[in-house]
Symmetry: C2
Subunit: 193 residues, 2 copies
C-alpha cells in the first residue's frame, strides 16, 4: 500500500469497504474488489500487499469514523453513558459488517495509527470513570450488539428491555448506591467532568 492517502491504494480500500458493507465478508474477495475497479485481481497486489492489509485499512477507517462519532455524540451531553451507547449502537447498526470486522478476531495493533484505539475508547472510559468499569460496560454493549446482529435472542421480542436493564446496571456502577434520583442530571459526575 504505497500511499494510502491518495493514489490507487485509497480507491482499493474504498471499493473493498463498499463490497464488504453491501454483500458481507464472504463477498470481500480480491477478485470482486478488482472487478469493482474494472481491473484484474492480481493487479490489486501492486497497491495492497495482501488481503489482510486491505482488511486492516478498512478497520482503520472504521475506527476513525467511530471515534469521531463517539466524540461528537458525547460532547455537551451530561449523560455521557447514554449518549455513548446511542452512538455506539448507531454505528454498529449502520455498518454491521465493518463493525464485525473491527471487533471480531485479533486486532492488528501494529498496523493501527498510534492512539487510535485509545481515542475510540476514551469517551466510554470517561463516562464510566475507571478502566475496569469501562471494560465491563464495553463488554455489555458489544455483547448485546453482536448477539443482536447475529439474531441470537429469540426473534419475536424486542431487545430494548435488556438494553435498559444493562444500562441501568452500568449506571449504578458509576454512581455509589445511596444516591437517590440519579437519572441524567444529578450524576455524581465522573472523575473527568
Amino acid at each position: 500500500m504505497a500511499d494510502p492517502q491518495t493514489s490507487r491504494a485509497r480507491d482499493v480500500v474504498i471499493a473493498g469497504r463498499r463490497v464488504l458493507e453491501q454483500d458481507g465478508p464472504d463477498a470481500l474477495t480480491m477478485r470482486r474488489v478488482a472487478g469493482e475497479l474494472g481491473i484484474r485481481a492480481p493487479s490489486l497486489y501492486k497497491h495492497v500487499p495482501h488481503k489482510s492489509a486491505l482488511e486492516t485499512a478498512i478497520i482503520v477507517d472504521g475506527f476513525e469514523e467511530a471515534a469521531a462519532a463517539f466524540e461528537a455524540a458525547v460532547e455537551g451531553e451530561d449523560d455521557h453513558l447514554a449518549a455513548f451507547v446511542v452512538a455506539y449502537r448507531a454505528f454498529a447498526t449502520a455498518h454491521p459488517h465493518v463493525y464485525r470486522l473491527m471487533t471480531q478476531g485479533p486486532l492488528p495493533r501494529e498496523h493501527l495509527p498510534p492512539g487510535l484505539e485509545a481515542r475510540t475508547a476514551a469517551p466510554l472510559l470517561h463516562a464510566m470513570g475507571s478502566a475496569p468499569r469501562a471494560r465491563a460496560a464495553w463488554a455489555f454493549i458489544h455483547g448485546m450488539k453482536v448477539l443482536e446482529l447475529d439474531a441470537r435472542f429469540p426473534a419475536d421480542d424486542s431487545t430494548e428491555p435488556a438494553w435498559r436493564e444493562g444500562i441501568a446496571a452500568l449506571r449504578a456502577l458509576s454512581q455509589p448506591s445511596d444516591r437517590p434520583g440519579h437519572l441524567r442530571r444529578t450524576t455524581p459526575s465522573s472523575p473527568g467532568d
Copy 2:
C-alpha cells in the same frame, strides 16, 4: 449424516471437533478431517451432507456439554449467578474454538434438538429472574469472554477487575436495592469464591 449416533458420521464429527479444538477454524477443512480418519475428503460426503452440517453437529455437541456443565455448576449453590459465571468462563476457556463456533454467526436453530438452546440458557434465566435481565447478563458475560479470547483488552493487565465490576452490577439488578443480603453474602464478590 445417516445415523449420527453410531456409524461413521459420529467419527467424522468427533474428528472434526478434535481438529477444531487443536488447530482452530482455519484447520477445519474437509481434507484435514478426512486425513484424521485415514480417508479422502470426498468420502466424507457419504456421511455428512456438507461442511456446515459437520459444524452444526459440533455446535450441538457443544451445547449439550455446556448445558450439562451449567446445570451441574448451579445445583446446590445459593449464589446461582456466581456459579454460572464460573462454569461459563470455564467452558469457553477450555474450548475456545468450539465456543466461538457456538456463539458467533447465526445459529442454525432448525437443526438443533428442540429445547436445547433453552435448556442451556435456563440456569442463567433462573439466576437473573427475568428474560431481559438474563439477556443483559449473557451479553456482559459473552462480551467479556469473547473480548478476552481475542485479546481485545490491553494485554498487560488482568481482566478480573472488570469481571468483578460487571458481576456486581448484575447482582444489583436481581437484588432490588433495599433488600439486604438475601444471598449468602451481601458483598459483590468475585466469581470464584
